[in-house]
Symmetry: C2
């Protein structure tokens, strides 16, 4: 089964129509911390709620506890972050085949970097190819070494390719700005690349973890 | 001389009062791409404007060209990103002693990661200790190996410590959640740490680059 998770990031970064679409879709639903409250307040019932909930008022937590059957209370002084506990629950307990994560960007940037860097940890690497981080302007997929065909995504003009770790022999073929056999000991963001004539881009690398970031400008910029 | 730079990230992430304060302060002012236009439209004149300006309309670029004396046009097919060219201009041509960078976060995340990861490149490492990235919820400072005393920052409750690269023997002393001799081959975000009784936190590490992220929750969360 496929899953959708909502974390506690700023609501204004959630894609338009997100909550409405959830009403008509049967995917497994996970809320993390304040993300659980966002869902409940929109009339949606998460299958699982995860978090230490320490930023919620008692009455807010009570709203979650009233409707959610599986609540996983994490320990604020802990080895796993809330989002890590959510990922383990999603894949190990509920055996989801893929997971779209919303509310993971914006707001506090130490939180965003937790959400992005979690998949670099050896025990979470296995889930990297199964997750997508999504906000209003960005769709982030994660890739492990090998050859990958990156398809264009409708509505997203830009292709960012970011090695989040050291990388060996990175090649980007068939894109507007190709790259051949790039090796680096530190993270580099190759931003603002583009697809050519709607053709797939070939991504190849031998070591490391790469984030592929589809992104778009927002229309408001056109009106400034 | 100290400097302030505005990049083209979302305006709603700029701290309140930013443009007004610029009117009463004599720091060196740099605009990057649409950030230059934001400044000019607020009646401020950047000392330098940098960018390929390819997302601006002709009339918008003309507004910048009318008032800015030093414009550095970058090449869209280029070795340096716009923000890299800005940093080189700030420190190499104008010999600034420090630089606060706004408009570097949010929006397109490949852009944010460019702005964060630029300082990992060997030719930019020297500037890492001189820059601060700032938005409404976050203040990011960068540190190179050694011992550092991290002072609390008024109004910011949380302390995130993020090794952006491999790190050797990282210790965090005097914080709510201390850490001793942590070594990692990949980036890790230690989020949501806190200062204790307003005392400095000691940061020590032997290899790598570390981002210290001061952050705060926004009040709106209290009213949801």
């Amino acid at each position: 089964m496929k899953g959708i998770s909502l974390l506690g990031g700023p609501l204004e970064l959630i894609p338009e129509g997100f909550f409405n679409e959830l009403k008509y879709n049967n995917q497994f639903l996970l809320g993390v911390d304040r993300g659980s409250l966002f869902l409940v307040e929109k009339g949606l019932t998460p299958d699982v709620a995860v978090g230490d909930f320490d930023s919620l008022k008692k009455a807010e937590l009570a709203k979650i506890e009233k409707v959610v059957k599986d609540i996983r209370y994490s320990n604020p002084v802990k080895d796993l972050t809330d989002s890590e506990l959510m990922i383990k629950t999603a894949f190990e307990n509920y055996h989801l085949t893929s997971l779209k994560i919303y509310g993971a960007t914006g707001g506090r940037l130490d939180h965003f970097l937790v959400n992005l860097f979690t998949f670099l940890k050896p025990e979470f690497q296995i889930y990297a190819p199964k997750v997508t981080l999504i906000d209003r302007q960005n769709v982030i997929r994660l890739f492990l070494p090998g050859k990958h065909h990156i398809k264009p995504l409708e509505g997203y003009s830009y292709l960012g390719i970011v090695n989040l770790t050291e990388v060996k022999n990175l090649s980007i073929r068939g894109a507007k700005y190709p790259l051949e056999n790039y090796t680096s000991a530190y993270p580099v963001s190759f931003a603002s690349n583009e697809f050519v004539a709607d053709k797939s881009v070939e991504l190849y690398f031998e070591k490391g973890t790469i984030a592929v970031i589809y992104s778009k400008d927002l229309n408001r910029f056109a009106n400034l």
